[in-house]
Every structure is written in structure tokens, then in C-alpha cells.
Amino acid sequence: MTSILELVDVSVRYGVGCERCAPADGPARCPVCGSVWACRGLSFDVGPGEVMGIVGESGSGKSTALACANLDLVPLAGRIRLLGEEVTGIGGARRRELRAEALGIVYQTPAQGLDLDLTAGGNVVSRMLAAGVRGYEALRRRASELVQATELPLARMDAVTSTFSGGMQQRVQVARALATRPPILLLDEPTSGLDVSVQARLLDLLRRIQLETQVAMLIVSHDLGVIRMLADRLLVMRQGRIVERGLTDQLLNDPRHPYTQLLVSSQLC
């Protein structure tokens, strides 16, 4: 099976680094030069139709891992492959192409993923235009398809996104991310900041879309409930490293690393 996304031994450092930096078992922040090692030797892959979760506390490196996957960041060391293609450090037109066609991303805050001054339809269409889709009819048809699939009121398709509620804006992000039918969707804390009933609706939507389209997902969250509902497999990150990995239900039932045990025991319900 060819992986959709593969990270091999990826390390990311914020800061200049020094020769005393980041021994394998040291702290993520270098006591000498102050650099932060957000990812250290990170390796995992996501296959077609698979849902992989990453949990960990704030600062554990999970969002940095996602940024590498989205080709936003070039790792200091290691390799990234997308659909079998070596994409580490790739730039220019090919990077734009891959981001438009092979990757879809949903950020924690809608302002990161959307142009809030555009309409819902406009946000969806602009992504299709970036991927080279042309023709008013085709664009309009796909945009309304997506608006319906993400349970947004069709009547609001031409309303400016800044007038939407937080939950609706997240759904516009999902619609935009899916517009070009990418084989993988990256989700960075997609439900935090939403109230619980809106959170539940968004999770149900993501699950339904996954079942229907078999899109692969890489989902980063600090909420084990979100992960349990969506992910088949799970990575637990701490201080830039993967401390435990396994099937989601196995990690929740039989956490073996002290940090995973703490996470599972800290869950509210």
C-alpha cells in the first residue's frame, strides 16, 4: 500500500541551535541557546482512507508536525513524502499545486483558513480556481454541493463569511478544504473554541464525510474525546517526540507510557 503522507525522522527547531542542543532524552528547550525542538525524529505514515490522530499537551509539537505535513515548514532534518513523491523543502509552483490538489487543511481558527471578507461560496471557489478548475457553472455546482454536504444553509452561500457563527465558519473551512477532493485532510484542533453541541455536530459531519468519501485524515487535538470518535490510530506526543503509538482504543484501554496514562486519567468523560 502506498502511503498518502509519510514523515520520516523529521526534526524541526525554532531558534539558531547550538552544539549542546537536543540530545535525544533532553528537554525540548535548549538550556544553553534557548532554541525549541518542536519535533524530534518524528516518523509516521497515513495510508489511503486512514484516520490518524495526534494528541499531546500544548507545546508538544503536534501542530508543528501538521505544519510540516501541509508543507508550511521545511524540517531541519528528515523527509516528507506526499503520494509517494519526495516533497521535503519543495517550493514554488509544485508546492502550490500539491497544496491545492493533494492537501486540504482545517485550522483551529477560521481566520487562518478563510478570507472572512469573501462569501462562503467565494472561499470554496477560490480554492478550486487555485487548482485550475475553470467554468462558472462547474465552480458554482461544486460549491453548492459542498455547502450542502457540510450542512450549511444554501441560502447563506452568498453571504460574507465574517457574518457567520464560529461553527458555521468551521464548516466553510471543511467545505473549502474538500473542494478539490484531496486524498488527505489535515485538521488542527478543528473543534476547540466551539460550544459542545456545535462541536458534536462538526464531529458528526467529519465522521460522515470520512465514511462516505474515504478521505484520509490527520487530526491534531488535545481532546481525547475528539480523537476517540474519529481516529483509528493514534500518536501521543510530548516535548517533540512520539512517546507512544497504537490503535486508538488500545491506547485508551491500555495506555503504557506514564504520560499517556496521565492523559487518559485526566479525561473528563
Binding site: L203, D232, R233, L247, Q250, R256, P258, Q261, L262
Partner: protein, 220 residues
Amino acid sequence: MLQVIGLRKRYVRHLLSGRVERVLRGVDLEVAAGECLVVTGPSGSGKSTLLRCIYRQAIPDSGSILLGPPGDSIDLAAASEREVLERRRTTVGLVTQFLDVVPRIGAADLVAQAGCSAEEAWRLLDRVGLPGDLHDVPPATFSGGQRQLLNLARALARPRPLLLLDEATASLDPSRRQAVLRMLEEKKHAGTALLAVFHDVPTAGVVDRVVTMREGRIAA
């Protein structure tokens, strides 16, 4: 169909200053296709952990879990995550007392998601005895027994050669329990291997053999 050899499992509680519980201390058992083996024993003797290890919801420390016909089996104790997921789809099902599905999706849809058509899902829910007016209701408000019936229907949604049952009838009234046991018996006669944990072992019908666990071992 299933051969468990020398299975050991301990839990290390890091939050309790590393306290160690030895839950399985060398378990051996075998279940053939079309056979029902019942495991019984006092609470805490390791019965559920045994089933969890076989379903790979827990990782054993040592031993093997050979699934499949002799000569063409896979060791679930050492299998990769993807191999385990694949076997869960095709070969081994687990029925527990707990609800581990999205509580906001209708019961029949949950059954269909487990691998059958919508019509088949309604038929299965009828057969396990879930009242018809609950078929399209999300299970958040279901009673313990109704949840068990739903779990059972999900496990039966596609044919799997091995079913693991963890107190799968514990919350059912006597007549529903009898109906479920009859269904399991039919499955068994059709060739499904059953490994079932019961506190209260059914006296007749589906059961072929009974073993008792004590302190992490098969005692008899």
C-alpha cells in the same frame, strides 16, 4: 480458529508509583471453528483482559494469539496496527457490555456502518430483539440491555469467523437472553468460533466447553 499460547499481561500503574498488576499469568486455550468455549471465574481473574488482548485493545507482554486455520494463521500479539484493523473488519468481532459508538447516530445506521445494508441492519435489530420504534433512535438514551442488543447486532453485521463475547447478555431479561443465545447457537452451527466470558454460564444449548480462570490462569 484461535490458539492462545502462554499469554501474559501485566498493567504497570505509573500514576500509583509504578504498582504492577499481573493480570494474565500464562494462559493457553484453543477454540475451533464451530465451537463455543466459555470462560468463567471470579471478578478480577483476567477474563476481560484476555478478550481485550485477543482483540488487541490491550498489548500482551508475551505469548502468542494465533488467529486463522493452522498453517495459515497470523499472530495478533505481534501483528501491525493495520493488520489488526483488517482482522477486526474481516475476522474477529467483540461484543462488550459498553457502548463504544457515536451516541448521536441512529441505531440502524450504526449497524449498517459496521458492514451491512440498511435493510439488513433493520432485520438484525429485529432479530436481536430491539423494539422497532428504537431502530432509528440514537443510543444515547438506551438502557444497558438495549445497548447490548445494539452491540450484538453490530458484531453480526458482517460474517466474522470469530466472535469474542464479554458478558454479552448480562443486562438482558431472561427471554431476550434466550433469544440471543439461540442466535449465537445458529452462528456456531454455521461455523463461527465463539469465545465467551460469562459470570452466569448458560446451562445448555450454545456452550460446548467451560474453563474457569483464577488469578490469571486457566484453573480447570
